[in-house]
Amino acid sequence: MKKRGIGLGCSWYGTGYGNGFPDVSSAFVEIHDDGSATVLTGAVDVGQGSNSIFAQIVAEELGLESQDICVYSGDTDATPDSGTTAATRQTYNTGNAVLKAVRQAKSSLLDYAAHKFSCPTTEGIELKNGSIGVKGDPSRQMPLADMVFQARLAGERFISAESSTARSTPVDPETGQGAPYWPYAFGCQSAEVEVDTETGMVRVLKVVAVHDVGKALNPTQVEGQIAGGVTQGIGFALLEELELHEGKIKNPALSSYLIPTALDVPNIEALYVEDAECTGPFGAKGLGEPAMLPTVAAIINAIDDAVGVRITSLPATPEKILQALAEKKRGGEC
């Protein structure tokens, strides 16, 4: 018999290194004579798309398009150390460093422009659509490229180096009291499953994931992180297990260490909540790790909802489910 159930899982996650470990990212920015720009950062893009996020941050600040920005990363001869691509920290932390760096370069640019436009301060100067000019005064505008090139002839360059250090304080080692991480990212997911009571097989039919991202800098990438996280969560909950015998891995192969295939993944609805984190770039928090956390709980709770057994050890294999069902039938505790 096939029975369906729905489960809910919530989670939280302190991003960044935490517990007082210095969490520093750095970035160099250079605005070129043609009005395009380059960012150098040590932050490695491992496929999650951090380079693309950094391009967006710089483009936003300079009134350019993403494709006007060259991001070069992860080369120790050319880029400053930006810490590891882990701890859900690159969008937040290196994002902050990139933002600080571009703002610093921009600030000299604005100073120069203010002088050019005979404005006493930079307050009325804006960068928009590849132009620089006085806000609300169409007569005093010029292409950014012209401004930067003229500046070069005057011996001015717009180059910056900045670092950003995230909040991280140690807890008391005796009591664990303190403020180890900042910021925290929250999320919840629901899973609908179908359990075959004869074979113990669980099929995940639908997952809805709602994650707190502060601000979605790129919704496509947010959805991508969520779907990828949910899928790893499904693997963690149902399939993946390294079998060890006296420390030796019995299944060191993708034919025996099973990860989900395209057919094992349900319809995933990736939703998010934007509640700006004031310390993040444009209000953003990281999402990489949080995206996978609630899935396991949602699935395990859904299995219980479907067939009334509580699986307490992962993965929830068909064997464990049948055994739990048999115990339940015998009237054992479940």
């Binding site: 097989m201 399939l239 034919s255 099973l258 048999a326």
Partner: protein, 280 residues
């Protein structure tokens, strides 16, 4: 290592007789085994260019399937769909599209893994295997062949399979850990005849229960000549569980498989009743 690529069955057999060489069908198992060192042939006879071995056709009351027909060929064949529904089903879920494009039914028998997806349906459908060597040609029921050790002599070529056209209804179900790229943990193929409301000549084959796929005599006895109803089904469930219990003994997988087989058996039968293979 020597490599031969004959274009005809005759050439292939001649090479097999004269050279120390292993037949290569699709290669999805052999190429892997060569890579890991599990198999180290001194020669290979690649059957890929013997086009006659890929034929799927009907002759003299049989569905004839060449040994080099791939799972994808079979899974797309109208003839297989109509006349060997269980096999057709097995071909939809075996491996992945890439594997199905390359792996052949003959290779599936030659490698003869306990979990081979193609064998239970062939057993249930009463398939015979056409074997050839330079010296001899024989047609053996698959059930008989699977009792032999070793399965085949080195110079013996699997020419193809002959499935009798008997208006059988058949169905197949497989239990894997995931929905694609899954090795069968259990597979069940069933074929039967329906006369009015009675089922006759029920043949049930099990895969991944023991060393090789096998046909169950006792299930055949328990289920044949009865009315097709719920009670009949439940009787089959009990019997199939008993068979699995007996076959697996104290193996680690036994406690799970002897229970889970009921679901797989039911699914195989349901696929007969609902999707029928019955249309034909």
């Amino acid at each position: 290592m020597k490599y031969f690529q004959p274009h005809s069955v005759e050439d292939a057999l001649e090479i097999a007789q004269t050279a120390e060489a292993t037949f290569l069908a699709g290669g999805t198992d052999l190429v892997l085994h060569m890579r890991t060192g599990k198999v180290q042939p001194s020669g290979i006879i690649d059957l890929g260019k013997v086009s006659v071995l890929r034929e799927i056709k009907i002759t003299d009351g049989f569905l004839n399937i060449g040994s080099m027909a791939t799972f994808a060929d079979l899974g797309k064949s109208e003839l297989v769909l109509r006349n060997a529904y269980a096999l057709w089903q097995a071909c939809q879920t075996m491996g992945s599209p890439q594997i199905r494009n390359q792996a052949t039914l003959g290779g599936n028998l030659g490698n003869c893994s306990p979990a081979a997806d193609g064998l239970p349906p062939l057993l249930a459908l009463g398939a015979e295997v056409h074997l050839m060597s330079a010296e001899k040609e024989e047609i053996v029921p698959l059930a008989t062949l699977l009792g032999r050790t070793p399965l085949l002599g080195q110079e013996t070529l699997i020419r193809g399979f002959c499935i009798p056209l008997k208006e059988l209804k058949s169905g197949f179900a497989k239990l894997g850990r995931r929905r694609a790229l899954a090795i069968a943990r259990l597979s069940v193929a069933v074929a039967l005849e329906v006369n009015e409301n009675k089922v006759e000549n029920v043949r049930v084959a099990l895969g991944a229960v023991g060393r090789r796929a096998f046909l169950s005599e006792s299930l055949s006895q328990v289920l044949s000549g009865q009315e097709l109803n719920q009670e009949w089904l439940e009787k089959g469930v009990l019997e199939v569980q008993r068979i699995v219990r007996e076959a697996l003994g104290t193996r680690a997988s036994a406690p799970y498989k002897r229970v889970a087989v009921s679901g797989v058996f039911r699914e195989a039968l349901e696929s007969i009743i609902t999707e029928g293979g019955i249309q034909a």
